[in-house]
Amino acid sequence: MNPTGTNLGRRVFVAGIGETPMGKYPQRSIQDMVTHAAGAALRDAGIDSPAVQAIYMANFGGQPLASQGHIGPLVSEALGIPSVPTVRFEAACASGGVALYHAISAIRSGVHDVILVGGVEKMTHQPTGAVTEVLATAMDAEAEASTGLTFPGAFAMIAQRYFYEYRSVRQEMAQLAVQAHDNALLNPDAQLRKPIDIATVLEAPPIADPLGLYDCSLITDGAAFVVLVSESIMEHASTSPHRRTEIIGAGQGGDALTLMGKPHLTSFSATKHAVRQAYHQAGIGPKDLDFAEVHDCFTITPIITLEDIGICEPGTGGDAVAAGHTARDGRFPINPSGGLKAKGHAIGATGLSQLFEVITQLRGDAGQRQVPKADLGLTHNLGGTAATCVSIIVKGHEQ
């Protein structure tokens, strides 16, 4: 039973984490990246690969971008455990979150005790236009993509509507980009480790009005993995108690695939549904959280997310950013990793990469980018134009 009395089944722990640096690695194969990241996660967990009972993989563009489907057996073969059951999850940019959500459910329900959950994407060997075209397949092909709408275009329309309903937060969006770059400077796994200033963001080449180049997340190669285990496994693991982290809430929400099918564009129902479940399971509210890794695919998104996850009132997300509350030393730090904006956005790996950072912070291993208080962290992973959302709440070791 969880604190709210809901019977969630068994407790779920994150025993190990591993990832590749995020970046441009056009010569690096998917197999090489998953071997590196999965191996690191298993070593971190102190678990040998034969103990893995299932592999849940997240990948979005393997087939169109890298001519590679059937990612699950690719991973199991690379790890020398080809008989282990595998499955691939695809939910656009939320693929990683969805894989995690279902792995958590499988451990809670007793189906498995040890699941290796990973995500991988190989993108940068393709030209930007081709990647943009593949990413656009995550929206409605006939009703939206056929008009020439792109993902930056979709979130630009969300920003325009937000400006209309509340106020322009163009300056605060630029501030979020600067903040992401500042945090990424301190993250050895980040793709874009260079400082920028507000003027650079505002004067950058336009992509889709009002978004410019520095308002957009990156095209990234990379892989990230976590090892999820049941309590009985955790009790016998070599992980020292102060490094144990427990998943105490996990929610998945959905909404219409199309922008035009959503009831409103300045708030994402999928986020609200996901965090409502996660908060309920954890028996906490937004004010109990210490920090979050949120899905900053474009700089308007964290502003809306701050409102949707309950940190701010509707229309005030920009005020929180302007006041510095989301900075690493602020009241509610977001994306100490650098986020999708500067750490990188290897689509299938993103939900896992977010959890990697949350666990790193909860363990106190984040070095110079460590947030001051890290006992409860949240991940927020969006797919498509906010058609899918997974949110996970993780608790650090007992004080």
Partner: protein, 86 residues
């Protein structure tokens, strides 16, 4: 009864953008305007004909359905039908 006959307010721009970096298959089209149009009880995603750098769009602008889509797929225009040049 059609949606058109139920319409009480003319179609208008619910939100919009100007795409400056197009997908590779449409790279010759850019820049172009795309909007979500509120048309009666429905919302429609469409390119918007008549947009230019000198004729910017705004949320709330009235738009007009085109009897036939323009060559780039727009089904709404910011100019009334009789003013749309061929």
């Amino acid at each position: 009864m059609t949606l058109t006959s139920q319409r009480t307010t003319p179609p208008f721009i619910y939100t919009f953008t100007v795409i400056r970096v197009a997908p590779s298959a449409l790279s010759g089209d850019g820049p172009y305007a795309v909007a979500v149009i509120a048309d009666g009880d429905t919302h429609v995603c469409s390119r918007v004909a008549g947009w230019s750098e000198q004729t910017p769009l705004h949320v709330g602008d009235e738009v007009y359905p085109l009897s036939t889509p323009d060559p780039h797929g727009a089904v709404y225009s910011i100019t009334p039908p009789q003013e749309v040049s061929s």
